[in-house]
Amino acid sequence: MAFAAFATTEAQPQAPRKRSRIALLLLLPGILYLVLFFLTPLISLLLTSLQAPSEFGDIGMYDYAFNWQNYVDVVNAYWPHILRSFGYALAATVLALVISYPIAYFIGVKARRRPLLQSLLLVLVIAPFFISFLLRTLAWKQILSDESIIITSLKALSLLAPDAYFTGTPFAVIFGLTYNFIPFMTLPLYTTLERLDTRYLEAGSDLYANPVTVFRKVTIPLSMPGIVAGTLLTFIPAAGDYVNASRDFLGGPDTQMMGNVIEANFLVLLNYPAAAALSIILMAAILVLVGVYVKRSGTEDLL
């Protein structure tokens, strides 16, 4: 899995020390590419975030400077978006975890002895990946729009207030994020649960633990690596997402997240320093959160 994949770094049994020239040749092009197109852009972003407007320039012209004020300005202007991003992402992550865990448990543990069923269920979990992310989100918008059958019939049954609406609300954005990231949560959970040795669960019940206690004290701790990987894989993209929260999709004017303001500042307002400062804040916040979370959850070897 993505996050655990780099865990097994050391202890390569029979790695020969010779021929390090070949290793260099194999590594160099790819690493150079990442330095050029991943690392340097981050530095560009940092430099851009400190730029000041050109004195005699047009809109969208900036000079390199050391303008810390940009950070203060964007935090003052966009603190609701910043809080919203992390709030929505957190809500979507928790919801996705609660929804996905039973699915992953069923595929990984209950369906274990039927490989065909297991394979087909896994295909169904990733099936949403095969249809455009944007069209999926738009489909929900139309299914849950004010004129849709679902909403009108809920209103006819008085289960929903006549003036109630769904799209454009924070609830709709969280719903969209949850839906879109369920596969990202389910797959790592499945990977760990699939390896869960059920004899531990039996040992638990043999020691007179009730099913709830077995689940809490045995299943959950054993599936911790999957929970950590899944929550990270959901939280990080959800916090940076701006499709769900966009006005043309599930969001409204009051649901804009950091991604929306970064996009608007960069591509519409041409306020590059503000967009860059917000990106740096987003990235720094995520790195700190991920670091703390991985430390607290006791799965440091993931990184």
């Binding site: 770094t9 020969p16 290793a23 197109f37 852009p41 249809i131 004129e147 970064i262």
Partner: protein, 300 residues
């Protein structure tokens, strides 16, 4: 985005894993006890899958809608949109689709080549900057796409590179490399060293052993990585949006047209891609399951 590495792992009926069987812990005979979980869980899972598949079904159904401009309300069934995909808006949908395919193909080849080389080096060789390199490969997957996109756009802006097809390809190759490394690395690590030893014992030169033994064994993993890279690139919107200038890809077309209504032709393309991808994966999965069963039977 990173979750799609998982998708790659699943796509990898192609990544093939006979080792799947050994990984599975032995099972104690199960005691028969009919509990709540026996019916509640399957019912829940069924509902969850219906929920997961609703938007897909919706997109598919509305590709047959006899819509005029926007494809929001149902106006009747027609095959027209499937037969005349490219006739809407002067072929804008098809042009965007074509761009997406070209971009995905080129970045897949580039990322798969670079990533495979890194994966082989990481597993097979010892070198000093190992942890730094691992970190450099991990970070792009832990960075939100909007930051990756804005960063590259800021760099292109600073250097004065105009945004076009090339900048999109450069961006896609960048974020695909790490996923290729993860996928191929797993395959390299699971290779049986005895097979290469056999090659050497038969006086194969290092080069011959690599190309005649190692590489063919890696092909399923490389194929899975390439499919994953293709899927990631094809469906990417956020990074593309920052680095595309006036070039339109399929996701970008959907995003731009969202405010004025998407023509049913977009649903046709998405549905066709879906069916194709699903067919590939189902075939791979079924053949893997069949192989696993055969192996299990052979083992007694």
């Amino acid at each position: 985005m990173s979750g799609e590495a998982q998708a790659g792992a699943v796509l990898g009926g192609l990544a093939g894993s006979e080792e799947l069987e050994q990984r599975r812990p032995p099972q104690a005979p199960r005691r028969r006890r009919v509990g709540l979980g026996d019916w509640l869980l399957p019912v829940y899972v069924t509902i969850a899958f219906v929920f997961l598949l609703i938007p897909i079904a919706y997109t598919f159904v509305f590709s047959f809608n006899d819509s005029i401009k926007s494809n929001i309300s149902w106006r009747g069934f027609t095959f027209d949109k499937w037969l005349n995909v490219c006739n809407v808006e002067g072929g804008a949908v098809c042009e965007a689709f074509g761009n997406s395919i070209v971009i995905a193909l080129v970045s897949t080849v580039a990322a798969t080549t670079l990533g495979t080389m890194i994966a082989i080096a990481l597993v097979r060789y010892r070198f000093r900057a190992r942890s730094a390199i691992s970190l450099l490969l991990f970070l792009p997957m832990a960075t939100p796409e909007v930051v990756l996109g804005a960063g590259l756009a800021a760099q292109f802006l600073a250097v004065g590179v105009p945004k076009d097809m090339l900048t999109i390809i450069l961006a896609h190759t960048m974020f695909c490399i790490s996923f290729v490394v993860v996928t191929v690395k797993a395959r390299v690590a699971s290779l049986d060293p005895a097979l290469e030893e056999a090659g050497r014992d038969l006086y194969g030169s290092p080069r011959a052993v690599f190309w005649r033994v190692t590489f063919p064994l890696l092909v399923p993993g490389i194929m899975a990585a390439a499919l994953l890279a293709f899927a990631l690139s094809f469906d990417d919107f956020i990074i593309t949006n920052f680095n595309s200038g006036s070039v339109t890809t399929f996701p970008k077309y959907v995003y731009i047209s969202a405010s004025r209504g998407i023509p049913a032709e977009a649903n046709v393309i998405a549905s066709a891609v879906f069916i194709l991808a699903l067919a590939i994966v189902v075939i791979a999965q079924v053949s893997r399951a069949a192989r696993a069963k055969r192996l299990a039977n052979a083992a007694g």
